[in-house]
């Protein structure tokens, strides 16, 4: 019975820093170049070549650490992680081990089960990426692409803090949001700029000791995070309920079959023989450098969300939607600053604006000022809400000032009782049986009549005024 089990998950996330060049050489860090073209003696690990740290990468790493509330250490040490693999040209990866860049941070996220929950960030360190082995490019041969070699990464390690695959996924999305906000990373799992490995274990509810954990690897899309962890969680529970025991091993997720398989022991890492990299002096960061990175951090999503709730009297859920993306949040605030009512602006942004953006490559096609004007037209009674939606679509598609567009489309609301009376009379004349039923007490038909008037007016009638005229005419 699954209910008797508690899932415990910790995540190790590798994030590619958004730099022009690689971590220890001047080669381009761009994705998608022809194989083995963004390389030099340093990232190829040619005899005699030496690494020199990329200052921009260090700035971004420190910003990430500060954004996650970590303690940034003024002195950290690059270490070599030694292992043999053909796409690792030096036979070691430059990373950090005993003395990482930052420790002891946290990230709050909205747990689907527990409300606001906090994940502890145990450590954040800087490292270089390895190359790529392509096993399916040539028959019976492995091709190596070393373009990715030396691309700057940070690894962010959480405690065993997540209690469900869904929570783990929510944390990951929250982390992605923070890193995107601060322009630290593109966080594109498909391009490999965000990769995640998970430590998964289960235990009986109430148990305080951790169960035997496995490491799930090869989760290469956000869509698979929850699936992969659920599959592994269920596998572990099945083994334990069947009276078996779990081996602490690495499991590879296969998205095609939605299954996991143990990594062959040959592929397992044994002993990385970490030691301080003698080619790189300890990384010493001045107080001033760290303080400067702090000032370069933008307001992060959690802070912004709180502020939106406070300042614009929005619900937490609405604020979360509006702050999910930094551009959207900035856009929303611009609409409000241009004079729109905060609540109405929120509704517009969350519905029309986001829907339009979704269909148009995240583009915010209607300028904030134009949307504020459009909202003003509805508020002033010039446009019905329905008509305003049509104007919005028109402005999005072809541009223009909302009032001009509304007029050109003939959508300006008719608030003239004389004209309205004509439409009302037509509607009542055409629906005599409904009029009878209304008069016999079926008053909810009023909305039907309003709808018919709107239809007759092709949306131009002011619905409130139409209702008043209808009530007068239907009065006994």
């Amino acid at each position: 019975m699954a209910g008797a089990w508690e899932t415990v998950i910790g995540l190790e996330t590798h994030v590619q820093l958004r730099t022009v060049s690689k971590m220890f050489c001047g080669c381009s860090a761009a994705f998608g170049a022809p194989p083995n073209t963004n390389v030099c003696p340093v990232c190829l690990g040619l005899p005699g070549a030496l690494p020199v740290p990329n200052e921009h990468a260090l700035q971004l790493a420190v910003r990430a650490a500060l954004g996650l509330g970590c303690t940034v250490h003024p002195r950290s040490v690059f270490a070599r992680k030694n292992y043999f693999y053909p796409d690792l040209p030096k036979g070691y990866q430059i990373s950090q081990f005993e003395q990482p860049l930052a420790t002891a941070g946290s990230l709050s996220y909205l747990s689907p089960d527990r409300g606001i929950a906090t994940a502890t960030i145990q450590r954040l360190h800087v490292e270089e990426d390895a190359g790529k082995s392509l096993h399916d490019r040539f028959p019976k041969q492995t091709a190596i692409d070393l373009n990715r070699c030396g691309v700057p990464l940070i690894e962010i390690v959480t405690g065993p803090d997540f209690r469900s695959p869904h929570e783990a996924r929510t944390y990951l999305l929250t982390l992605k949001q923070v890193l995107e906000y601060a322009a630290i990373s593109d966080c594109d799992m498909e391009k490999g700029s965000l990769r995640v490995d998970a430590n998964v274990s289960v235990r009986r509810v109430g148990e305080t000791m951790l169960g035997t954990k496995t490491e799930v690897k090869n989760i290469n899309s956000f869509a698979y995070v929850e699936k992969a962890l659920t599959v592994e969680r269920d596998r572990q529970i099945a083994v334990l309920e069947g009276g078996g025991t779990l081996a602490p091993q690495t499991m590879l997720y296969d998205s095609k079959t939605n299954g996991v398989r143990p990594q062959r022991s040959k592929e397992e890492s044994h002993d990385y023989r970490y030691f301080p990299d003698p080619d790189l002096p300890p990384l010493v960061l001045t107080e001033q450098f760290i303080a400067e990175q702090q000032t370069l951090l933008p307001e992060l999503p959690a802070k912004k969300r709180e502020r939106f709730v406070e300042k614009y009297a929005l619900s937490v859920t609405d604020a979360a939607v509006l702050t999910a993306d930094r551009n959207v949040a900035d856009y929303y605030e611009a609409v409000v600053h241009a004079g729109a009512d905060a609540k109405t602006a929120a509704n517009w942004v969350m519905t029309e604006v986001l829907a339009d953006a979704k269909d148009h490559a995240d583009g915010l096609r209607v300028a904030a000022g134009a949307l504020a004007n459009l909202i003003g037209l509805v508020r002033g009674g010039t446009l019905s809400h329905q008509a305003a939606k049509r104007v919005f679509a028109e402005v999005a598609e072809r541009g223009g000032e909302p009032r001009n567009v509304a007029e050109a489309l003939g959508l300006v609301q008719v608030a003239d009782t004389g004209v309205l009376s004509g439409w009302v009379s037509d509607v009542l004349g055409a629906h005599t049986s409904e009029v009878m039923r209304y008069k016999q007490g079926e008053t909810k038909l009023l909305q039907f009549f309003v709808g018919q008037v709107m239809k007759a007016s092709r949306g131009k009638a002011d619905p409130k005024l139409a209702q008043r005229v209808l009530e007068e005419k239907l009065a006994p």
Binding site: R273, F275, D279, L280
Partner: protein, 462 residues
């Protein structure tokens, strides 16, 4: 010299001299290729350079666009570097000519140049003996008069030890004085490019050219290049320490006599000489033989046959490729050190060996600081415990071989500059004396070396 025809003549003469000492197996570059390249270099060398037309041989573990860079190893046989080491680039920019690549112990691991995949180098005065190592090819070429200076490299004494055994000058600068970019790494925290020269002046002027900051090496100090001192009239005002640990009871009597004579001459030059103590000296060789192999095991991991260098038979899968390439490509001494290094870094052993060795290294460096803080400017010691030994004598006794670096490894562990100057002969074989200086005070060390070189009858029996 500033005339292209003189540079061409110099190039040709150097090639002729190198051909004349071919029997030493000191130069690995095929003679035809060497002649052609030297002529080409001479015709394009910049005439205003301070080393214009000077032929400088380069140890085979320093990357050059000219010639192969094989590090004395089968695993890099025929390897051509696509770039110049910073030191080589600086030499060329100063108008010097790269006069071939010199034989060495494989990846600098050895003290006799017997551990080269390309055969041993002979001692220029006695073919039954070794020239020392690992920069034995460079030392032998200079000693034989083929080139006025050559680049070598040190991890534990690989410039000074062969300089002592061959009767030439060998300088190891302060760690961080010369860029390591393009020096094929052995023990990165100990490695420095050094210079072997006919005289202190020849070695020093080459050192001056190759020294100075390099944005490509994070461990290279942000300093201007070394300025050469004048030859001093006397050593008045110098305080020279003689560490008692470097003169043990069982020190070779002739070596002791040679050192005593040198010390007397230093006194006569006006230096104040005092006995000092460096109490952790006894642990230096053990410390060195943990740290250097540990770093080497990682530095040499890249030679796996996957990307460059020869592949040795059997590559049915990648593990087999590694096994055969590294098993057949590395010689026995390299394999020994890779195994030792892998062991001392392994989890469960790291604290007992590597971490402890780092602590001892700090104590050894502190020993030197303590002495220098008490007003001592320089230290004088023997460079090697004996003159050149017989080929094969220590080949099967690694510890005996390691002990030939006993007086030189400390300067590498402490990162200090040191120089070996010939101080006499023992039964016809040269022997060197060592001056160890303070970090980045090569100029003081060179002043004393100039004076000692001038005063000492280096060609006479001690």
């Amino acid at each position: 010299m500033s005339d292209p025809s003189e540079a061409l003549a110099s190039a040709k003469a150097a090639a002729d001299r190198i051909v004349n000492v071919k029997r030493l197996n000191a130069c690995l570059t095929p003679i035809k290729e060497l002649r052609k390249s030297l002529a080409a270099q001479a015709s394009t060398a910049h005439p205003s350079g301070v080393l214009y037309g000077m032929p400088v041989a380069v140890k085979d573990n320093i990357c050059t666009l000219e010639f192969t860079t094989s590090c004395g190893s089968k695993i890099l046989e025929g390897y051509r570097s696509p770039y110049d080491a910073t030191a080589a680039a600086k030499l060329k920019a100063a108008g010097a000519l790269i006069a071939g690549k010199t034989n060495c112990d494989e990846f600098g691991m050895g003290s006799s140049t017997e551990h080269s995949a390309y055969g041993r180098t002979l001692h220029p005065f006695d073919k039954t003996r070794v020239p020392g190592g690992s920069s034995g090819g460079s030392a032998a070429l200079v000693a034989a008069g083929a080139v006025p200076a050559a680049l070598g490299s040190e991890t534990g004494g690989s410039v000074r030890q062969p300089a002592s055994l061959c009767g030439v000058v060998g300088i190891k600068p302060t760690y961080g004085r010369v860029s390591r970019y393009g020096l094929v790494a052995f023990g990165s925290s100990l490695d420095q490019i050094g210079v072997l020269g006919r005289s202190v002046h020849d070695a020093a002027r080459v050192l001056s050219v190759i020294s100075g900051r390099d944005p490509k090496d994070s461990t290279c100090e942000d300093r201007d290049s070394l300025r050469l001192p004048n030859v001093p009239e006397s050593l008045q005002g110098f305080v020279i320490g003689v560490p008692k640990e470097y003169f043990p009871q069982d020190l070779d009597a002739a070596v002791r006599r040679a050192c005593d004579r040198a010390i007397r001459l230093l006194r006569e030059l006006g230096a104040a000489v005092r006995e000092v103590s460096l109490p952790h000296t006894a642990y230096a060789v053990a410390t060195y033989y943990i740290i250097a192999p540990a770093e080497a095991s990682s530095n040499l991991a890249r030679y796996d046959g996957a990307r460059y260098g020869p592949r040795f038979n059997g590559s049915e899968d990648v593990r087999a490729l590694y096994r055969t390439t590294r098993g057949d490509g590395f010689g026995p001494e390299v394999r020994r050190r890779v195994l030792v290094g892998t062991y001392v870094l392994s989890s469960g052993y790291y604290d007992a060996y590597y971490r402890k060795a780092q602590q001892m290294r700090a104590l050894i460096a502190q020993d030197f600081r303590n002495v220098f803080d008490r007003g001592v400017d320089l230290l004088f010691t023997p460079t090697t415990p004996t003159p050149a030994f017989k080929a094969g004598e220590k080949l099967n006794d690694p510890v005996a071989m390691y002990l030939s670096d006993i007086f030189t490894v400390t300067a590498n562990l402490a990162g200090l500059p040191a120089i070996s100057v010939p101080i006499g002969r023992i039964k016809g074989l040269p022997i060197g004396g060592q001056l160890i200086g303070q970090a980045f005070l090569e100029d003081e060390m060179l002043e004393a070396a100039y004076a000692l070189e001038r005063a000492v009858p280096a060609a006479e029996e001690a």
